[in-house]
């Protein structure tokens, strides 16, 4: 951020600006010559892709807000007006609704990449934690955004999720009434959700700024997990990674556009094309796909937790589910302090690697369970998967800290690249 030892610019207009507010030098320093490990693979594109999706969501969201009516009686109609009468309204809405999914896809890949290559480890703990904060803000934003069309899923999703807070002992019901602004999800709820849905993305932008700032303090991790030791290990960010990111972004946009134009409702729910009706609950309430793993964890706690062999209940099932769900995110938050193993990248962690792959598969299984009715085989499967989720953080990682052998690492990034080349040849 500081202007420190600013180099004089050739262009007089830019020099005038830069000597007063050194943003040109800053961009040059942070995005031009910024030394970046030279061995990134395509998983390192997803931060930039997520940034593009964030901007897309904000822009399409602002123009949708110009045409949206924030009252319970008009919200659904105004969305239909956007779809039918507003110029390109259908496009803007499908970009926004599918954009939420693709933003989550990018962020999930970004997170799994961080976990696989140990990007959260010292000295990048805070960087990771701010990332989890962004993820939390995204979840809140997406949830409130889904309420705005005021269809059946909007209404019942809002009812179910806000009711989570009623599980809190003593004050739960008062909190829920406060969230609703009434005695059920209604017009006041919709109004405040819209206000917050508009605000939160800008908070996300602020935290993203801090996230990138922190990244540029420590520098990026890389597939080898070995810190860059000098110039031979790095490349200037521009043009090498600007162009690689641009390529990745365009490929991602191809898939995004395919959904927007050819499968615009594939990721949504038919029930949300039915206007909200407080008297009729849809047969099967499901959140959007990106919440399904957490929804499965919520539903997995079907039993009261108490003192064995007595009737004393410490945590009723309802509270247990809510605690498990929030706990699953809290564990992500403290991950840097759970994993003390000195090696970052799974490339050089033969044990962690397989437990992590199992963790990824497990997350998919949880997602599938979350989308199924809570009955039959899906209940024990969700419970087993939930158990693995928590065991991964609370048992496996501490176990690996102590027992996983520390392999000898290549001396530098350059060496690791050469080794890989050699192995291939």
């Amino acid at each position: 951020m500081g202007s420190g030892n600013r180099k004089k610019l050739d262009n007089p207009a830019l020099e005038w600006l830069d000597s007063r507010l050194p943003i040109v030098s800053m961009i040059q320093k942070e995005y031009g010559v910024f030394p970046t490990p030279k061995n990134f693979n395509y998983f390192w594109n997803f931060g930039a892709i997520a940034m593009v999706m964030l901007v897309t969501m904000i822009i399409t969201g602002i123009v949708l807000a110009m045409n949206y009516a924030t009252t319970a009686s008009d919200a659904f109609d105004s969305v239909e007006r956007i779809m039918r009468d507003v110029n390109h309204g259908w496009l803007l809405r499908y970009l926004h609704s599918n954009g939420a999914s693709f933003f989550f896809i990018a962020v999930y890949i970004h997170m799994f990449r961080g976990m696989y290559y140990g990007s959260y480890k010292q000295p990048r703990e805070l960087l990771w934690m701010m990332g989890v904060l962004i993820f939390l803000l995204m979840m809140a934003t997406a949830f409130m955004g889904y309420v705005l069309p005021w269809g059946q899923m909007s209404f019942w999703g809002a009812t179910v999720i806000t009711n989570l807070f009623s599980a809190i002992p003593l004050v739960g019901d008062s909190i829920v009434t406060l969230l609703w602004g009434g005695f059920s999800v209604d017009n006041p709820t919709l109004n405040r959700f819209f206000a917050l849905h508009y605000l939160f993305p800008f908070l996300i932008v602020a935290v993203v700024f801090l996230h990138v700032w922190a990244l540029h303090v420590t520098g990026s991790n890389n597939p080898s997990g070995i810190e860059a030791k000098g110039k031979q290990d790095t490349l200037p960010f521009h043009p090498y990674y600007t162009m690689k990111d641009a390529f990745g972004i365009v490929v991602f946009l191809v898939i995004y556009a395919t959904f927007v134009f050819f499968l615009p409702n594939a990721l949504g729910h038919a029930d949300n094309y039915i206007p909200a009706n407080p008297l009729v609950t849809p047969a099967h309430i499901v959140p959007e796909w990106y919440f399904l793993p957490f929804y499965a964890i919520l539903r997995a706690i079907t039993f009261d937790i108490g003192i064995p062999f007595t009737d004393i209940v410490l945590i009723p099932a309802k509270l247990g589910g809510v605690l498990a769900m929030f706990g699953s995110i809290a564990l992500l938050f403290v991950l840097p302090f759970l994993d003390k193993h000195p090696v970052r990248s799974s490339r050089y962690r033969p044990w962690y690697k397989w437990f992590f792959i199992a963790f990824t598969v497990n997350a998919f299984i949880l997602g599938v369970c979350g989308g199924k009715p809570a009955e039959g085989i899906w209940v024990p499967l969700a419970q087993a998967s939930t158990l693995y989720y928590f065991a991964f953080f609370m048992v496996i990682i501490p176990f690996l800290n102590k027992k996983e052998p520390v392999l000898e690492l290549p001396g530098s990034i350059s060496e690791s690249v050469l080794n890989k080349k050699g192995a291939k040849a």
Binding site: V250, A257, A270, G367
Partner: protein
């Protein structure tokens, strides 16, 4: 990606309903378009049969231009309806002939009246029905042709009917279609199945009137982005190749 496709289907699976009949619509697939003839016939079925009970509140007469009607034809169609306007200077609501800018005339003044006239069952608004049901037009076609005598041992309450594709199989709507209830002018067979197919086609258009422009735009956008991706790949390769030379 598997995950993505599994999730939305999860809720679509019905209970004890038969597998939907295999029927093909011209609007399916990435290049599919609406068939103007089918739309006009489907509208005719809606107008003569469904509209007795079902409203379509998101459609205006002007929207019929999409399915190939001329301005004159639309004015004539609208002129068949009287809509309530007002208040006038005396503060009274009054009836006037409908104009193309008016919404489709609803059969009932409000939901309570609609329920009262239909044994307590509310005929749903059909504007979005093709998007509001899993399987969309395929389900609608099935529902309209799926009426049967109830299996032995099943007794239906008064005002209930048996439909093999309805969730729970009991439906308050009596079979609305039978052969030859609507006269087609273009020589298309006037069978129950044809009516069901045409009206399902029409209802898909009503729910997603921008589908054609969406797909047309989509083809251009995807081709553009693919070309752009190719170029960016070449640019990226070129830049990184120069690095290796050094």
């Amino acid at each position: 990606m598997v995950f993505l496709f599994v999730a939305p289907q999860a809720h679509a699976a019905g209970g004890n309903t038969a597998e939907l009949p295999d029927v093909h619509f011209s609007f399916e697939g990435p290049f599919g378009t609406y068939d103007r003839g089918a739309l006009q016939r489907g509208f005719q079925v809606y107008k003569n049969v469904c509209s007795a009970c079902h409203a379509m509140k998101y459609l205006s007469y002007r929207n019929l231009a999409d399915m190939g009607y001329s301005e004159g034809q639309i004015k004539a169609i609208a002129a068949d309806y009287e809509v309530t306007d007002g208040p006038n200077e005396e503060g009274e609501m009054f009836e006037r002939t409908a104009r193309p800018s008016d919404k489709f005339k609803a059969p009932y003044a409000n939901d309570a009246q609609a329920r009262y006239a239909n044994n307590g069952a509310l005929p749903v608004d059909l504007s979005l029905i093709a998007k509001a049901r899993g399987e969309g037009p395929h389900y609608l076609y099935g529902l309209l042709t799926g009426y049967e005598a109830p299996p032995e041992g099943v007794t239906l309450a008064i005002g209930q009917h048996w439909n093999k594709y309805m969730e729970g199989n009991k439906i308050a709507m009596a079979a609305p279609l039978s052969d030859d209830v609507v006269a087609y002018e273009d020589g298309t067979p006037t069978t129950k199945e044809q009516y069901a197919k045409d009206v399902s086609h029409f209802l898909m258009w009503a729910a997603e009137p921008k589908m054609e422009v969406r797909k047309r735009t989509g083809i251009k956008v995807v081709l553009f982005l693919l070309a752009f991706a190719g170029i960016m790949y070449a640019v990226k390769k070129k830049i990184w190749a120069d690095l290796k030379k050094k």
